[in-house]
Assembly symmetry: C2
Homo-oligomer: 126 residues x 2
C-alpha cells in the first residue's frame, strides 16, 4: 500500500507519516526499487498502533523508545513490558484526573440548570 492510501486510511497526512518514520515513531517502511514506500501489514499495524497511542496522549519519547526496543528483538521483551506498564499507569492517572474534572463539570452544569430553573420560575410568574 502506498502513502496516499495509508494517509487516507488513518487520516494522517503524508508529511506526518514521513515525519513519524523519520523520528523513529514507526519502524522503517519497506521501499520498492524506486525508493517508494510500500506499506505491508506490519507497517500498517504500527501506524495504527502509534496513532492510537498518540491520541491517548502517550509521549512520543516513550513510543520511540518502545519502537527501538522492538527493533532490538526478543532480548528486550521485559523492557518493553515494563515500558508499557509504566505508560499504562500514567494513562490511568490521566483518566482518573479527567473523570474528576468531568464530575466537576457535571456539578457546574447542574448548578446552571438550577439557575435556569429560577429564571423559568421568574418567567412563569411574570
Amino acid at each position: 500500500m502506498r502513502m496516499a492510501e495509508v494517509s487516507a486510511k488513518f487520516e494522517l497526512s503524508q508529511d506526518t507519516l514521513r515525519y513519524y518514520e523519520r523520528i523513529g515513531l514507526i519502524p522503517p517502511v519497506n521501499r520498492n526499487n524506486n525508493g517508494i514506500r510500500e506499506y505491508n501489514e506490519d507497517n500498517l499495524r504500527w501506524v495504527e498502533f502509534i496513532k492510537c497511542m498518540r491520541s491517548a496522549g502517550l509521549p512520543i519519547e516513550a513510543l520511540i523508545e518502545y519502537v527501538n526496543l522492538f527493533q532490538q528483538g526478543d532480548c528486550t521483551l521485559s523492557a518493553r513490558k515494563d515500558l508499557l506498564i509504566e505508560q499504562r499507569e500514567q494513562l490511568r492517572l490521566r483518566i482518573e484526573e479527567m473523570v474528576q474534572t468531568m464530575g466537576r463539570l457535571d456539578s457546574k452544569i447542574e448548578n446552571y440548570g438550577q439557575s435556569l430553573h429560577e429564571t423559568e420560575k421568574a418567567l412563569s410568574r411574570s
Copy 2:
C-alpha cells in the same frame, strides 16, 4: 494575595498567570494603586478552575469564550451552560477513547506476560 504566592499555590509560573490574564483565560485581576495585582477569592477560584480545566485538556478557545460570557453577566447563563455541556461531552469522548486504549495496553501487557512465561519455561527446561 500577590503573584508570587498565587504562583506557588497553584504551581503556575508568574509568566503563565500574566499570560492567562492577557489572553482572557482568567478575568482581569484587581490592582492596587501601584498597578500590582492583588488576587482576591474570586480571582483565586478562577485560576484554580482554569488550571483544572486545562489539565483535563479543555481547549483554551472554549475557556476564553466561557470567561467572556461570564463577564457579560446573567444574560449569558444559558450560553455558558451550553458551552459546558458541549465541553463535558468532548471530555467524555476523550475519556472513552483513553479507556479503550488502556484496555488495549492491558492486553499487550498480558501478552508480554505470556511471552515471559514462555521464556521462563524455556529457562526452567534448561
